[in-house]
């Protein structure tokens, strides 16, 4: 991957929380983070140097990304602050087409001379590699947008919130967890700000200010006598919002089956930490699952990851075409299935939409990293595969004229390529709450929050765990289960989807660090759904004894 980046944040085992640092991130003080390094007119002047240099060297297309990438992590465990880290990474990435071949070079020397040299290097790489090229790169057209800008619509900039306030919030959450029986608790607040300036030889100059926020914790309960331990991670979601996500408004709290509290557009970390310790204790005492077929009721904080792996990845066109064959893999959704116009990916009620504009989502931006205005489009309609996710140099292979606008690079220093948009399961059309859904299930398991995950390189066979598992007997929650994982084939699984709750239950969750590419890059992406039911899924028991 390094999907390790992803598991460290999203799966987080039982160990200490690992933090992802981009290779060129360095730490800076907070005051400095809030001052722009260059204004847009200075960036335009610098970008024009690259555009003119590349043109004079024979490039047929050039784009320039001047980027400043800021992160802040506040990490604590129990009563201790482990770290307060501000990182900044600033530089320029230049991509050209010369002799019909891509070339890319990047530098942290954002000066006229540095940009000129970097451009020369990008053109030289393109020309050198053109001897391997069999078909010249063809870019789908995109309008010239002139000078435009876009900002994540945040209410509170997390970088402006005093560090002291964040530390107090986390230590307060830790204290609540410990009071309620946690043995250990690790917590963190993770903030991201991408200040991206894009310019292309096609006349677009795009300035964007993108924010993402993620509070998270892991509560461990250890029974030293029996040697058992269990982890309950936070019911928060990483979001494309500002610090207002931590307001924990009453209207965003959801009383869910199993007497648990879930969160929608804002999050109460202190309340959730207390609940986490109580639930981890119940989890240890839970009943070990009897393997077999169950009807699964999957809550949005869990289902997002199943969507991500089994729908988001196989509908990426670069995977279908073989560009990721050596690493992330290919896809079972081959072109012939799409061309047939009747490949039944899921049941009739299954509709998936890809979206780069959804407010509050991690993938939401105004324009992608190759200057295409973002939009939403259908992937699966009434259960049938109708489209893929594709960018400018591949969309033509689908006979489509316009890129989907899902090109992304994690940093100025990495080349941009096709990355997953927010891919979401549309809510059910008939009125249905999770309680009503569960009341019709005879033998089932209600699963909350994502846990262990693994899927094959063509996205057929998957296995997912979770964080909390509730047994459903004759329409009622009958206590907690443990040692649960389900295995299925993607197409069979989505065809077994018989009910989806309505719009009232629709929520987003997602991942900060989805890995793809060599060298691996991270992408942040959200997935929405309402609670959904899947009939007759194979559940295995994962309990083992090692001595």
């Amino acid at each position: 991957m390094k999907r390790r980046d992803f598991i460290h944040l999203a799966g987080m085992g039982s160990g200490a929380m690992a933090l992802p640092f981009s290779a060129f991130a360095h730490e800076v003080e907070i005051g400095q983070l809030l001052t722009p390094l260059l204004d847009t007119s200075q960036k335009k002047q610098l970008a024009d140097i690259a555009l003119n240099t590349a043109k004079s060297l024979g490039a047929s297309y050039t784009d320039v990304r001047i980027g400043r990438y800021l992160n802040q992590f506040v990490t604590t465990r129990e009563k201790k602050v482990q770290g307060v880290t501000n990182t900044e990474s600033f530089g320029v990435g230049i991509r050209v087409i010369a002799n019909g071949t891509w070339g890319f070079a990047a530098s942290n020397s954002v000066t006229p001379d540095g940009i000129k040299k970097t451009t020369e290097r990008a053109v030289a790489i393109a020309k050198a590699n053109s001897k391997f090229q069999r078909e010249p790169v063809k870019l789908a057209g995109t309008p010239s947008y002139g000078e435009v800008s876009w900002k994540t619509p945040i209410v509170k900039n997390g970088f402006e919130v005093p560090v002291k306030e964040k530390i107090e919030l986390l230590l307060n959450a830790n204290a609540k967890a410990m009071e309620n029986g946690a043995s250990f608790v690790n917590s963190l607040i993770f903030l991201v700000n991408e200040q991206k300036y894009f310019a292309s030889s096609e006349g677009s100059y795009i300035d964007q200010d993108v924010h993402r926020t993620w509070p998270n914790f892991q509560v461990n309960v250890v029974d030293r006598q029996s040697g058992q331990f269990k982890t309950r991670s936070a019911f928060s979601a990483p979001v494309g919002m500002g610090y207002e996500y931590l307001d924990g408004k009453a209207g965003d709290k959801i009383k869910a089956p199993g007497d648990i509290i879930l969160y929608n557009k804002s999050y109460d970390i202190v309340e959730d930490a207390a609940m986490a310790a109580q639930q981890a204790k119940q989890f240890i005492a839970g009943k070990s699952v009897e393997p077999g077929k169950y009807d699964l009721v999957l809550e949005p904080s869990h289902l997002w990851l199943t969507i991500h792996e089994s729908v988001g990845h196989p509908t990426e066109l670069d995977r279908v075409l073989g560009y990721e064959a050596n690493y992330a893999g290919t896809s079972f959704l081959t072109m012939d299935k799409w061309q047939s116009k009747n490949f039944k990916f899921g049941s009739d009620i299954v509709n998936f939409v890809a979206d780069k504009t959804q407010p509050g989502s991690l993938g939401s931006v105004g324009y992608d990293d190759e200057g295409v205005k973002c939009k939403s489009w259908e992937l699966i309609k009434d259960g049938v595969l109708v489209n893929y996710q594709a960018i400018r140099d591949q969309i033509g292979m689908l006979g489509q004229k316009e890129s989907h606008g899902c090109c992304y690079s994690q940093s100025w220093s990495d080349v941009q390529f096709q990355r997953m948009a927010n891919v979401s399961l549309q809510a059910g059309k008939k009125s249905l709450t999770p309680e009503q859904l569960i009341s019709n299930v005879e033998k089932g398991i209600y699963i909350v929050k994502d846990g262990s995950f693994s899927i094959d390189q063509q996205r057929y066979n998957f296995q997912f765990g979770g964080v909390l598992f509730f047994e459903i007997k004759n329409g009622k929650i009958a206590g907690m289960l443990k040692d649960v994982a389900y295995q299925a084939n993607t197409q069979e699984f989505w065809n077994s989807c018989t009910e989806i709750c309505d719009e009232r239950d629709y929520r987003l969750s997602g991942a900060f660090n989805d890995g793809k590419g060599q060298p691996s890059q991270s992408n942040a992406v959200s997935h929405g759904s309402a609670t959904a039911r899947f009939n007759g899924v194979n559940v295995i028991n994962t309990g083992r004894t090692i001595l």
């Binding site: 360095h26 891509w102 070079a105 942290n108 994982a485 004894t545």
Partner: protein, 444 residues
Amino acid sequence: MSILTKDEAQALLKKVLSYSKADECEVNLTGNDSANIRYARNSVSTSAKVSSSQLVVSSAYGKKLGVATINEFDDASLEKVVRRSEELAQLAPENPEYVLFLGPQNYAGSATYVPATAAITPRLRSDLVAASLQVARDAKAVAAGFLEDNTGYSAMANSKGLFAYNTSTNTNFSITVRTEDGRGSGYATRGYNDVTKLDTRKATQIATDKALKSAEAKAIEPGKYTVILEPAAVAVLLERIFFGLDARQADEGRSFLSKAGGTTRLGEKMVDERVNIYSDPLHPELPTSTWSGDGRPQEKVSWIEKGVIKNFSYSRYWAEKKGVKAVPGPDGAIMEGGTKSLEELIAGTKKGVLVTRLWYIRDVDPQSLLLTGLTRDGTFYIENGKIQYPIKNFRFNESPIIMLNNLEELGKVERTVSVESNVNYLLPPIKVRDFTFSSLSDAV
């Protein structure tokens, strides 16, 4: 700034330390030149060359620590980064787990730098890729591969007189070859400090052979099988043990090395007595740095000896609290093997499954270190000492601890790369019984 020599690095670090007004100051300096070529569908898809340098300054007042970093190296910037780290230290809360910086240490010289790799030219990179592409094209198969090389150095110094320097080179190569109809797939991976050892043609030939031979895969029932795992498959399972050797996790009861009753498994036999795992920065086939990032010497350490857990790794804080030597975690690991080749292991197998590669490895239960994942790019059925036919891929659910208790045989050690972490190891192919395949996958 390019790669600094030991003297140049020492002079720069001395200058940085001369600006310090804190109780303690420590400075880490790194620099890297890396380049890569990525290809797919028998054509180059992306290629990049990136240079970077970074200076990290840690200043401490009592137990208050501030860290700041910069990648500009003029005098004004160097003084600015020291002042900035001192300001952050003054603002930081006290960390009760802060441990004073180390004094001067003695380090052995390392063998991680190979001049031929540092001198790699764009022409050589392109020839290595061309050789790989030619093999696939000749076989009318489709190649996707990745070649990267890296030359770098790291240095550190502190106000107590510690100084450390290391320079290293590395090259990693991986190749997936698929048949044109997509029904067969093969893989190979190689990693070396010395690029002259890299034979992309030979590795691509192995991947191509596996692709062609795996095209008519049959489905066999999931269940428990005797399995021969090639070193690339062994790496992704065993590294979960290597990553999990931390004493504090075990002492706190939240590790597979913790035990009922509040103790740990240190000193206990946990796996088959033929299992010996150690790390050695001076091993000629897997040289690593002779010091860790916080200045502790990296020495030869036995982690599992005759199946017994011999050592845990410690942070300096936890070691001080426990009154033991602060042994840093392994940087690369070595498992002792036997004398048999992979072919000999196959020849001695009545019924079994040969696994080229395992993929998408995830923890299922940290308590038992139960992992799940899938076979990929060349899975074959063995009967009466011979590969009989290719089989469809499986999902497995298995703990490497249980697996090492079911050991049948160890083959000859070779250097390999983990596809999950990119870390290089010296590992044998291993044969184990009762390896748990829990379902079939249609993936090729």
